[in-house]
Each structure stands twice: as C-alpha cells, then as structure tokens.
Symmetry: C2
C-alpha cells in the first residue's frame, strides 16, 4: 500500500472520509423523491455491474460511492446519529465489565421507556424484571418462548417437551411460528386459533378456553399464550384482560406482542390499548417500526428476568469477572441469543433526547391523522369499502367487485395492487382476511405528508376506474 492509503484507524483520515459520507447520505435524501418507491430491477442485476472478485489493492472512497445507487427510506436523524455514534465507538458490550456504559445506559433508557408507557412496576429493573434490547421481535419472542419452555420443563420434566402447546390467533406474526420451529416444539402443537370478522380478527377468549380444556383433556401441556396489540394484517387488538385471566388460571406464560402498535401507547389517548398488560409475563415493541429509531431495535420487557437468564446463560472461564460473579450487575448476554451485542441503546437514547416524548407523540398522532384522512377518502368512494376498523396508521380496504364476480373480487384487487405499485409512486401491500384479498395502506415513512396521501388515493382511484372499465 502507498503512504496515503487508508489506515485501519486514524483520527484525521476518519474525519475526512466520514465528512464525505455525510454529504453523500444528505445528498441522497435531497433527491430521494425522484426515486421509485419499489425497485424496478430484475434479479441478478447487480452481479452484472460488479467484478467477480474482491480487489487485491485498495480503491478510493469516491470510486466506491460513485457506484452506489439505492432507493431506501430511513427513519430519523436522531436514530441515524445514534447508530453512527454506536458504529463509531464499535463497542461489543455483552457483559457489564466489557462496557459499563452500554449496559447501564440500556437499563436506564428502558426504565425511562417503561415509565413513558406507564408499565406496571414489575417490568422495571429495580424489581425482579427489566427490559432488554433485542434485534427484532423475532428474537424477542424466541427468547421468552425458550424461557417459558424451560420453566415448564423444570416442573413437568424434559419428557413433556413433545406435549407442550403454544396458543396465539391466526393473525399472530409469522415470527412466532418460526420461534417454535427453532425451539424444537412440536409444530402440530403450535396452535394458531381461527379468527373472523365477528371479533374484528381478535382472539376470542371463549375459543382459547375451549382449546386449552380440550388439550388438557387430551394429555397435552399448555404452556404459552401470545396476544397481539396491533396485528400485522389489520392492527387488531387482542382482549388482553380476558386473555390474561385465562393464562393465569392455566399457568401459561403470557406474552404480548405490541411490535407495531406499542409506539402509539406513549400517547395518553391510546394507552388503553395496553390495558391488561399487568397480567403479562413479557411484552415487546419495535422502536424501529414507528418510534423514529433506526433498525434494529426491538424492546422486550419481562417480569421475571431469572427465567430468561436460566435458559440463556453460559459462563465460560474467559468471561468470568468479579462484578458478574458478585451479582452486582446486569450481563445482557444472558438475556439474548448471541454473546456479542451492539450499543443499541445509544440510538434510542438519541431519539428520546433529541425529540422528547412530546416530539414522539406528535409524530405518532400525525401518522394516525393521515391514515384517518385516507380512511375518509376511501369511505367517500362507494366503489370501495373499509374492511376492518382503523385504530392506528393502517387502513385495510378493497375495491368492491361487480355483483356476479366469481372469486369475490380477489383477482380484481390483486390486479389493482399490481397496477398501483407498478407506477413506482406508491407502495401498497396486501393481506388475506377470511379468504378475501385485502389492500393495506400504511402511513409509516417519516417524510409522508398530506399531499402524498392525496396523490396515492388519486392513483388508486384512477387505476380502479381503468380496471373496472376493462372488465
């Protein structure tokens, strides 16, 4: 390498290159509105643009950046700054001793957040519980599932493993099924109970009670219940108080997944969505979803941290130290799957401090208002129908099919989705509820304004008109 080549670490070289990178990223955001929201490329496109081996000798940053073209959306300036600082420090704080600051800031920020959500005292670090940052809700639900599994097996014996039954509604996130697969549970006993429009796609306490009774009668061992506050498909809110009571009676670990809708509960007018949370053993919300925090940052609270630690701790010689042995500190390595962990509390801390709770409340309210505005637009066009209650920032709707439609308008709505998304100006997703293909309009990007919603609706109306005329 030449004298001027990039060193592994050098304060002045870092300053020079990182300033260039800041301008690259800021320029990207200046021009972001010109990019299509969904990629228009074909599989394999990138391989054609890049060489087939890593370079033997260093290239310049300018050369590398010139080849960069992307089209993604970000979360917030504060979230980015926190991620940038975390990357700059590059600490790997798995135990207190390896980074007291990373450990203690995480505990403090999660206690702050527990307070902001008005959580019961059991979830604070000062008691037997506490919060921990996981990468995603998938990891959050996996670690509590494993803790619950081991807790029941300690009582019922390891032989009970193939008889353990897990319950959730059929609207639960797919991460739960995956967690069951990883944890070695019997896939047939991961029961996703049917929901329908009669309960607005929430889990019925009666259906749950009946399933549990039948399973116990059949010699099985119910052990886990997952309820959702804000399902992926339609933001349905399971009835936590009634479900919690059933969980308690039957000695199930009760987990509440509020990955998406949890953010709304910092607003007093939405806090009631958490009613019943006092019955939960654990719950999580994704700060990276709707809380202005860059991915990844899923926040998990448990009431009984010792259950987590019993399942996830290992204590090899090379990590032993006085602070840990003395039980004076938290070692988050024992609350999660990996050993190493990034300093993720830094970005949550940046978000909380640079926006404040009031700033976050405004952000959430603004998105909900925009969704309500979209809902109003849909309601005024009799060709469309809103198909599930809109509580937060998601509207589920569909184009009504002509009276004699064979497939209840499923193809029609699927075609409308393709037609709208192919413009590259809007990105609508879909779901299936009670066999019907449903369109989902979600307000989530930080840059969304009223004019974008109006424009999206205009495109939807135009494409619907064209489709209906072509029938």
């Amino acid at each position: 390498m030449e004298e001027s080549a990039l060193r592994a670490m050098d304060a002045e070289q870092l300053r020079e290159h990182a300033h260039k990178m800041v301008d690259f990223i800021a320029d990207y955001y200046k021009t972001i509105q010109n990019f299509p929201v969904l990629s228009q490329v074909q599989p394999g496109y990138l391989g054609k643009l890049l060489p087939d081996s890593a370079p033997d000798y260093p290239e310049s940053l300018q050369n590398v950046l010139d080849g960069e073209t992307s089209y993604f959306d970000s979360y917030s300036i504060a979230g980015f700054l926190g991620e940038m600082l975390s990357a700059g420090l590059n600490i790997v704080g798995f135990s207190w001793i390896t980074s007291p600051a990373a450990t203690e800031l995480e505990t403090i920020v999660l206690d702050w957040l527990a307070k902001a959500f008005q959580l019961p005292d059991d979830f604070y670090s000062s008691g037997k519980g506490g919060g921990v940052i996981q990468g995603t809700a998938s990891e959050a639900v996996l670690v509590v599932l494993v803790a619950a599994r081991d807790k029941i097996l300690r009582r019922a014996g390891r032989g009970a493993l193939p008889k353990l039954v897990m319950y959730a509604s059929d609207q639960t996130h797919s991460a739960l099924k995956k967690a069951c697969q990883i944890a070695g549970l019997n896939p047939e006993l991961c029961k996703l109970l049917k929901t329908d429009s009669s309960t607005n796609y929430t889990l019925s306490p009666e259906v749950l009670s009946e399933a549990i009774s039948n399973d116990i009668a059949g010699g099985l061992v119910p052990f886990f219940l997952c309820a959702t506050v804000g399902t992926t498909s339609s933001t349905a809110i399971d009835p936590l108080p009634a479900l919690g009571k059933i969980a308690k009676t039957n000695n199930l670990w009760f987990h509440v997944d509020a990955a998406y809708a949890g953010s709304a509960c910092i607003c007093p007018e939405y806090r009631h969505c958490f009613d019943g949370i006092e019955e939960a053993d654990s719950f999580n919300m994704n700060a990276h979803k709707w809380f202005l925090t860059n991915f990844d940052c899923s926040v998990l609270w448990v009431k009984d941290r010792s259950s987590l630690i019993q399942s996830l701790s290992t204590n090899p010689e090379f990590l032993k130290n006085k602070a840990s042995e003395g039980n004076m500190v938290i070692d988050y390595k024992d609350w999660q799957i990996p050993l190493g962990r990034r300093f993720r509390s830094l970005k949550l801390w940046m978000v909380l401090r640079l926006y404040g709770l009031e700033g976050l409340r405004s952000h959430v309210r603004n998105h909900i208002e925009l969704a309500a505005y979209f809902e109003g637009l849909v309601s005024q066009d009799t060709r469309f129908k809103v198909v599930a209650p809109r509580t937060f920032s998601l509207v589920c709707f569909r184009l009504l099919p002509p009276p004699n439609s064979e497939d209840h308008g499923n193809k029609l709505n699927c075609d409308l989705l393709d037609s709208v998304n192919s413009t590259g100006k809007v990105f609508i997703t879909h779901t299936v509820l009670s066999g019907e293909f449903i369109l989902r309009f979600a307000v989530g990007a930080p840059l969304t304004e009223r004019k974008h919603v109006t424009q999206a609706w205009q495109i939807l109306q135009d494409k619907a008109t064209a489709l209906l005329e072509s029938l």
Copy 2:
C-alpha cells in the same frame, strides 16, 4: 416543538448534525490514548449522572454529546463508513423484493470472500450452497444446528429428538452450548469431549470415534460435530481432515467454527489451516473479529442451503411476491433467525474495496508478527513459560510458581492479571487449561504497535517482580 426543532428527516438538518457527529467521533479517536483500556467505574455509576425519566421536550445535539464519555476501541475506518452508510440508508432487506441491492450485494461479497479463502465450489451461491451474514457466531451455529436437527428428524422421526447427540471439544466456544439449549436438545447429550496438552488442546479423532461408537451402542443418535479452527482459549486447530472423515462415515452434520482464525486464511501461508474444509457442511468466520469490519458481521457458508431454508422459512401472506414464488431470488430471511435484517454486506464491501485483499493480508500479518515478538520476549524471561503453541495473534503464557507452590501458581497468575489490568494501561485476559490458570495476550486492536507490546511486557515484568518479591 419550535420551528427550529429537529425534524424526523430533513436532508440539510441531517447534514449539519451528522458533520458534528463526525467531528465528535474523530476527536474521540484523537484522544483515545489518554483513556484507560478497562473501565474504572463502579456498578450503577451512570444512573447517578442521568435523570430518571425521558425528557418531555427535545434537547440539542451539543447538550447530548457533552455528556458522552466512553473508552472503547473500534475496528476500521472502512468498517465504520460502511456501517454509517447502512444506518443512513436504513434498509430492512429481508427478502429480495424489499431490497434487491442488499440481497444481491451480500451474495456477491460472500462469493468474493469464498474465492479469497479458496473455498470448495460447493460453498458458492452458484451451486446448492452459499453464504449469508449472521450477526454473530452464536447465531451462525444456532441456525446450522437447527437445520441439522431437523434434517435428522425428518429421517429418524420427531421421537428421536431426546436422543440426538452433538459433539465438540471442551475448547469449543460457549455459544455452541447455548445454541443446544435454545434448540431444545437434551443438555446431557451435548458432549464436550476432553482435550489436553498431549494434542495441544485439539479434539482427538480417536476420542471422537470412541464416543460415537459408545453412543450408537447405547441407542442414541449422533447428528452433529463442531470443530474449531482457532479456539478461544489457545487458538488450537482441530484436525479437520480426520474429523471430517468420521463425520462422513457416521452421517453427522460437520460444522467448522473459524470465528477468530478464519481471517488469517486469506494469507496463502495460513490457508493450510482450512485443509479439510471440503468435508464440512457449514463453516463460519467473524469478519468483525480480525477482518477490520465493525461489529456485527459473522459470515456463514453452507453446502446445502435447502436444509437451512426448510428449517427457517415461513411464508406469510403479506410477504408473498412474484420473485420469491418463482424461486428466482434469494430471500435471506429464510437463512437466519429474525425476519428483518440490516444491510451488513455494505461494511464488508467497504472493507474489501477500501483495503483490498492485500491490505487485509498486511493487517493480519502485522498482528501475527507482533504476537510473535511478544512470544519472543516471554521466552527470554525464564520466570515465564509459553504454555501452548502460538499460531496466530494470541500468546498463552504464565508466570512459573516457586517450586513448593500449593495451587500450581494459579493464585499467583490470577494476582498478576489483576495487578497488570489495574494499571489501566494494558488489558490481559485469562483462561484455564488442564486446571491451570493461564494468561492470554492477544493482539487485535487496529491501533496496536510494537511500542505498545514492549510497554505491556515491561508492565508484566515489573508486576511479576513485585509479586514474586512479596511471596
């Protein structure tokens, strides 16, 4: 919020604040040599410095940064720039359609790396295998363990789960035991076979063969073998060719963990450490350990990606799309635990392009030379002994006890460790090999130079002299 408050996203506000953050990080590196390498704080120190609730209203960035004091080490400028760009774009590319660039760049960079390591063709994405970036080696070993578990259960039936046996040496990383716990394996059948100095703490093929024969005779089902290239304690290299043969004969999934030492194998003179890798079903190395890439970035290759996908895929309605349904693309969500994932290939790509393979080779060689230099210093002082062969950048050594020592010098070496680390100038770790407390001197930080090694040795000698005189 006031008019001038920080917006969620605004190109010019991002530019202004991120430039400030760059200077904050660069200034930190300018003064890093003044900080102690191990924290001197007491548990709970941070809670005393911070308020007990999140602020209701926004604070300024300057105000937040003024409170920041930390002491960590980082990896490289290129790694940082890659992480910064990834955070700036904040893409969450779990399936090809959500981010073709993130998906395809990962495939390309991992094929580049497979080439740089001279891996067998089976590990390239063009065949039935391929590479994927996991967060850490813990996740890498967990996903292959689950894939192997399900593969054998498909053949032997789910009833075989409590009979599955996993093998590794007692020098294997603790992550493997944790993965077994999470995957629901019988903890008594996770067999960590004893090693000793007669094989330099590598797994003996004879010991393994015997264990497998006994277990089969006992009605158990051997299914997984993990070998290590560069153990945590002493960088021992398990004999891959002989172990691979045994795995093949007995139909075990053969995983090779090269988390630390894998990096060295980009140098032709160390590539022989990978000899036998052609027998492996999977292997991983941590680019964040010794490859100038910021944490987290563990690279995993498998020969049969369909086994991984069968265990880890879920296909909910809201993620369905034509590219995935047509099997035209890779959806990395089915190769890992979580659904969401960061654009981690970006930092590996930055490292490969900004340093080039030759730059990485120089980096590795430089650390190995420094470790060899330290080894030479230890060898010249007859009060000390090097206790395991030094192959890479770690030296295992101890202070010899006086002839009549009761505990073979364990307390003496433990005291020496404390005494050296309490200076705040050096950070030495320890391990236990064959019951003996051993000191570990690892060269790993990018800023380490010969003068630092000399200084560390000087401190060790001085503290040893003081300790021996006090006996």
